[in-house]
Symmetry: C2
Subunit: 336 residues, 2 copies
DNA sequence: ATCATTACTGGAAACGTTTCCAGCAACAAA
DNA sequence: TTTGTTGCTGGAAACGTTTCCAGTAATGAT
């Protein structure tokens, strides 16, 4: 069943059928109705390959996810997927590990699948213009902003929270409760990442409140998963380092740390308060319920797609959308 | 840069280039090398749409996920994705909610995207042959087996655990520790689901050990997420129903139940033991660590793809692959 | 010397769309 | 009556591959 068959059956030309399918205005109501009837009757769906071929593009948008073990991404992925779907795009997802380079992956996908655009979910945030130059389709960074070198770069589109400020906010929640000995649980993997920005916020908060910054209180772990955070925290505690509060840059990490603290006989929040950022589902169900700055995941997903769609459509210029978190008070912090 | 350009530059015909690209045997070593050199030099990638068009198929495999809120799926999705990637397929994922019908979704995707095959991840397990007949490409059920009516149906391919038996195993862990008043936390949504099978295992275990089956001890919740399980358990406790152990059919649910128990002042495992099935990452980090029958997620993903690839290739017949769980002892059970 | 076989090659049709272009009818303006 | 203009339509080229078919040259068998 092809467009030709539809044309033959409805007694019009192939081009007319095509016009009907694509909602072109210059077709008479009569023809349109006739053709639509036939299409419905045979529930015809146009061949995508043929369309893509002649239009020299596809309807595919790539989603490149770094570190899917981060539960936080699950909701965002879902949100991105449904938004793409509604907008008529097809999502082609690729998850990459710590050894892979997302630009290389994106470039090969772009050529291979004729992508219309790309969304990067999680990842480094220090792509150089040269690296990015290999991409020929629009792209949007989700959950982070590209900031090559030291300066914020406004040539790229993104949806993210203000990592540094939000981290500062989180740490100030602890400071406001009287904490002075605050550890930070961050990721060590790359320097210009979300982790780094949140770490900077941590430092800024300490400095703003005239608290000493002690690098021995910085717990560095490999990745955003629970295991690494658990092990790093455990190691730090075994080294004898002590603190009255921990700021973890992600819920996943906080959960890992919680176990380490527990196993070391350190009660949360009795002996040690804990706050983090993200707001994943499980953080609300553990004991004690985690206090966390929740990110608006659905919104972030949708906005990423909106932005990308505008870039693909040619309308709209680059913009860095900043969304804000809201504190979900659990029971993992106490006054000191 | 098209195949024509390659042909022109290397001084052969288009058809020869095509043969080289597709590794056809009947092309001279000399021509092959010449063409390959040009392809490499211009790092040419053939246009997928054109290939798909003429071959009247694509390289896409659909992954239809029901209930992505189930953290358990994250690892499987990852595993499926990398296996598909290695095998040269493109994964097109669609998540569906409780109101959507996966067969309808699959059928439209199949036609729309010219899928080669479909993997269903999670879902009802009572598709009738008539329903499934609308699909014209091979498909594999992952995490469940289709069993229309009462009998196991061997006309379909699947990778799953033996839900009934595994559930029985789990409940027997509780019984072995002296528990007699065992609640079951299941999903109420559909009757022929994984939930139902695991429930049957629960009943079977009770009967095998001459324990009464009391329907008031069955906690039914809407979906596999923590919130529903939490609320359902809370409600049940408020009704005054008591038990010394809970068998939850999924880790996600167990975590929801744990909070409800905690809030009701019921200590796990002191007052109530808890076991479930899945083995999601976070279950190892909560307090008490959850005892659970872990499923081999990576293996399940890979096997699903293997199976599908064989079906697509035309080799291999339908088979129901059963994988087994292993008990990960946490601290959520105690002897009574 | 002739014929059959083999190994390779090029030409061309096909896949199912979109889109450009030309054409036709109807109608309004001159 | 002629000349534009508008609204709609059909024909045909194009998109970039794969694959069938016919053809050539070289080799081997008779």
């Amino acid at each position: 069943m092809t467009i030709k068959d539809i044309a033959r059956i409805s007694g019009v030309a192939v081009s007319t059928v095509s016009r009907v399918i694509n909602n072109h205005p210059d077709v008479s109501a009569e023809s349109r109705e006739k053709v639509m009837a036939v299409i419905r009757e045979h529930n015809f769906i146009p061949n995508n390959s043929a369309r893509d071929l002649v239009r020299t593009k596809s309807d595919a948008v790539g989603l490149i996810v770094r570190g899917s073990q981060n539960t936080f991404f699950v909701d965002i992925i879902h949100s991105i997927e449904s938004a793409l779907d509604e907008a008529g795009y097809t999502m082609v997802m690729r998850q990459i590990g710590s050894n892979d380079d997302e630009i290389t992956c994106a470039a090969s996908m772009e050529r291979d699948k004729r992508l219309l655009g790309i969304i990067f979910l999680g990842g480094r945030s220090d792509y150089s213009p040269e690296e990015l130059a290999v991409l020929t389709v629009p792209y949007v960074f989700c959950t982070f902003t590209n900031s090559y070198g030291t300066l914020k770069n406004t040539n790229y589109s993104s949806v993210s929270i203000a990592d540094e400020e939000e981290a500062m906010k989180a740490v100030e929640e602890l400071i406001g409760r009287g904490h002075k000995d605050i550890a930070a649980l961050i990721s060590a993997s790359d320097d210009h990442s979300i982790s780094q920005l949140r770490y900077l916020g941590y430092v800024k908060a300490l400095k703003a409140h005239k608290l000493p910054v002690d690098d021995s209180r910085v717990i560095r772990c490999g990745s955003f998963n629970m295991k690494d955070a658990y092990e790093a925290t455990k190691k730090k505690l075994e080294e004898g380092v002590r603190f009255t509060a921990v700021f973890a840059i992600a819920d996943n990490m906080a959960i890992g740390a919680m176990r380490a603290l527990r196993e070391a006989g350190i009660d949360v929040p009795g002996d040690c308060s804990l706050i983090s950022i993200d707001g994943i589902e499980v953080s609300e169900y553990i004991d004690p319920m985690l206090s966390t700055l929740t990110q608006p995941m659905k919104e972030m997903g949708r906005k990423s797609v909106e932005q990308l769609a505008e870039l693909i459509g040619g309308t709209g210029k680059h913009s860095q959308i900043t969304v804000t978190t809201s504190l979900r008070e659990g029971a993992s912090m106490r006054n000191i």
